[in-house]
């Protein structure tokens, strides 16, 4: 099944999107941009940026704003107004409809729009790596039946099966995810490159009804750019007495600089325009350098922004609604990035406008979502779950050791080898936990079982392999296997991922809240484990080769070990107190061990070797512990 693409067929710019992995995504053009100019040169078949670049050279053959002519009569107001600004020839065709004459050939607006759609189709095919046959195309809410019909025909000419024609504000509302909400009335404020539209939509049960629409078909970002260019030229003339508007090369540079300044001033309050060697005067080069503040820009374009308010008022009046009836205002079109525009909208409607979706892409994204709904794409996707919380087991010192981390896509399986915590430990308890806290007791217990029959062996020697296996339905199988005897125990826990959202949220928040305390607790446990290891290892050495120490040394070491052990067992032991005792004991052990080695070295008897081994065991055991951890009990 091929994908249905969503196309925003705009007056100045167009964009394409598609559903991918359950979300709508913009398809980049062959030129690597997210939108492309709706400009066509039909003779050489150039579309987009390429057509725009040859526009100056080939103005009579280059068509822009063809959307204004879609489904229009030649005698109509819209066609006549477009004729005034268009350098290409517009004439009366079949049934008096507006057509375009290029190089003696007649093109209908549908054919020209089809070229734009063909580029959209080609870019989508290159991106998706397959044929694209179906599309959802957007039109302004005010388009009448003949304009919609013309748009559909354009799609058919382009070889696209037009699954649906969707209103632009509806698509924008879809992109903002408003279809999931309750019944409410929203305003879509769309200030694009060349047109301004405001629509009032009533949403309810997945149905979008356009209650009213208004706008200005000749107001957009280009007008804003012109204001800035005029200002820069005037300022330069004031300062240098040179009129840059006569110099096409300089004007081009100012145009680029003005657009950049406009964009910069949306995020910063001041920008600098630097164009060295912009022109010459009396053989001397002149540089254009000027600071523009956001306040200045806002002053320059204030009347343009204010022009959008009247249509908003009219739309509200047409819908017989008051500002307070509006639940949400969403912003569409690149110009709505301007803070002043957002401010004016906020002041008028009395609420903060929603600007969470990229305003240039919202309409195309919404069209793609509509396409996804039609094709049932969402149902077709095999939705894989993730584990909402970490799964692990309790190890020495009541520490939670994670096996399957939070947000792991299931099905998933993980194994880790653990060992015993004390000598000749006959069994281990596998205590299965869920949660984000480092201490076992702070997490949720999912279950536990005992693996017994472990042959007598020193601590750290038995190898117990613990495996967590969680299937796609969230059923967790935990098994523990003694590698020496192959004896195995297991438990099945159902609904390991099935927690209510509130529960997950609470556990995550708690983990954050107690992060600092938990870290301290964990550090203390680690320190205590370290102390325990030292006590056990040293006692072993004293027992095995106690005859190598004199009685005084032995009792001194034993005293230090007893003190350390007592400190560890104290309920009010702190990291510092344990650490102090641990240091004393370690230093003492090291001192006598050194003396012992020295004595052994002097005697140089091979029989001393095993004792050296006995000492060397200590760091080895510590290493093992760090890697594997030990199971309690």
């Amino acid at each position: 099944m091929s994908k249905i693409i969503g196309i925003d067929l705009g007056t100045t710019n167009s964009a394409v999107a598609v559903m991918e992995g359950g979300t709508a995504k913009i398809i980049p053009t062959a030129e690597g941009r997210n939108t492309f100019p709706s400009i066509v040169e039909p003779i050489k078949n150039l579309v987009g940026d390429v057509a725009k670049r040859q526009m100056v050279l080939n103005s009579e053959n280059t068509i822009f704003s063809v959307k204004r002519l879609m489904g229009q009569k030649y005698s109509g107001k819209q066609a006549q107004k477009t004729k005034e600004i268009a350098p290409y020839e517009i004439a009366s065709g079949k049934d008096g409809s507006a057509v375009i004459i290029i190089d003696g050939k007649t093109f209908t607006p549908q054919e020209i729009s089809a070229k734009i759609l063909q580029k959209a189709k080609a870019d989508a095919e290159a991106y998706l790596g397959g044929t694209v046959t179906d599309a959802v195309i957007t039109v302004p809410a005010y388009f009448d039946d003949s304009q919609r019909q013309a748009t559909k025909q354009a799609g058919e000419i382009a070889g696209l099966n037009v699954q649906r024609i969707v209103n632009e504000p509806t698509a924008a509302a879809l992109a903002y995810g408003l279809d999931k909400g309750k019944n409410e009335t929203v305003v879509v404020y769309d200030l694009g490159g060349g047109t301004f539209d405001v629509s009032i939509l009533e949403l309810g049960d997945g149905v979008f009804e356009v209650k009213a629409t208004n706008g200005d078909t000749f107001l957009g970002g280009d007008d804003f750019d012109h204001k800035i260019i005029e200002y820069i030229v005037a300022e330069f003339k004031k300062e240098n007495g040179v009129d840059l508007s006569k110099d096409k090369q300089a004007l081009q540079r100012i145009k680029d600089a003005a657009e950049k300044a406009k964009i910069d001033l949306s995020s910063s309050t001041e920008t600098e325009i630097n164009q060295p060697f912009i022109t010459q005067s009396n053989g001397q080069p002149l540089h254009l350098t000027m600071k523009i503040t956001r306040a200045k820009l806002e002053e320059l374009v204030d009347d343009l922004i204010q022009k959008t308010i009247e249509p908003c008022k009219k739309a509200l009046a047409d819908a017989k609604l008051d500002k307070k009836d509006i639940a949400e205002v969403i912003l569409v079109g690149g110009m709505t990035r301007m803070p002043k525009v957002q401010q004016v909208v906020k002041d008028f409607f009395g609420k903060e406008p929603n600007k969470s979706v990229n305003p240039d892409e919202a309409v195309a994204l919404g069209a793609a979502i509509q396409g996804g709904v039609i094709s049932g794409d969402v149902k077709d996707v095999l939705l894989l779950d993730v584990t909402p919380l970490t799964l692990g087991i309790e190890t020495m010192g009541s520490v939670m050791t994670p096996l399957i981390e939070r947000n792991t896509t299931v099905p998933s399986s993980k194994s880790q080898v653990f060992s015993t915590a004390s000598d000749n430990q006959p069994q281990v308890e596998i205590h299965i936990l869920q949660g984000e806290r480092p201490m076992a007791s702070d997490n949720k217990t999912l279950g536990s079982f005992v693996l017994d029959g472990i042959p007598a062996a020193p601590r750290g020697i038995p190898q117990i392999e613990v495996t967590f296996d969680i299937d796609a339905n969230g059923i967790l199988n935990v098994s523990a296997k003694d590698k020496a005897t192959s004896k195995e125990q297991k438990i099945t826990i159902k609904n390991a991922t099935n927690l209510s959202d509130d529960e997950v949220e609470r556990m995550k928040q708690e983990a954050e809240k107690y992060a600092e305390d938990d870290k301290k607790k964990k550090e203390l446990v680690d320190k205590k484990n370290e102390a325990d290891t030292l006590v056990i290892q040293t006692r072993k050495v004293l027992k095995d080769s106690g005859d190598k120490f004199d009685a005084a040394a032995k009792s001194e070491i034993e005293k230090a070990l007893d003190e350390l052990e007592a400190e560890v067992k104290k309920t009010d032991a702190t990291l510092e107190s344990v650490d102090a005792k641990l240091k004393t004991a370690t230093e003492l052990v090291q001192k006598y061990a050194e003396a012992m080695y020295k004595a052994a070295g002097e005697k140089n008897k091979p029989s001393e070797e095993p004792k050296a081994d006995g000492q060397a065991e200590e760091p080895k055991a510590a290493e093992q512990k760090a890697e594997e951890g030990e199971v309690v009990n």
Partner: protein, 148 residues
């Protein structure tokens, strides 16, 4: 030869159908994954190759300024610096779009002005264009002849 005939129970039939369906689903998921992996590798390669594009595009305007200064000052030292800089960037995949006296090509050039001169031929390059590897990083801004 004995031919064994037996009628499958409805349960077996439905289970068989289920197996086929699941196998199909499994293959599709596997194919999806492999395709995704392949595309990821491709994209990753592209990403590394063109990671500098945004930075280079910004630096180009500084190079423009240097070149304009050089045009005015005609300083041998500055000339060397500009050439050095371009050489460094060439090693990173930046390449000049030849535009002077070439036929106008909208794929690589942007026509700013039409002036008397040979028809559809570049009369002057106002701002040089550059490729980054095989992509147009910035089209050349040119004056094109009107044929008059």
């Amino acid at each position: 030869m004995v031919k064994k005939t037996h009628t499958s129970s409805p349960e077996v039939v439905s289970l068989n159908a289920k197996v086929v369906e699941l196998e199909e689903n499994y293959k599709r998921v596997l194919a999806d994954y492999q395709n995704q992996e392949r595309r990821f590798k491709e994209v990753q390669g592209q990403f590394v190759k063109y990671a500098n594009a945004t930075l280079l595009e910004k630096i180009l305007s500084n190079i423009d300024s240097l070149e304009m200064a050089q045009k005015h000052l005609q300083d041998a030292g500055l000339d060397m610096i500009v050439k050095q800089l371009l050489e460094t960037l060439k090693n990173e995949g930046l390449q000049l779009i030849e535009s002077d006296n070439k036929p106008f090509d909208p794929l690589t050039m942007d026509c700013i002005e039409v002036v008397p001169g040979p028809k559809d031929q570049v009369v002057a390059t106002l701002n040089p264009g550059y490729y980054l590897f095989d992509k147009v990083l910035r089209p050349a801004k040119v004056k094109v002849g009107s044929g008059k």
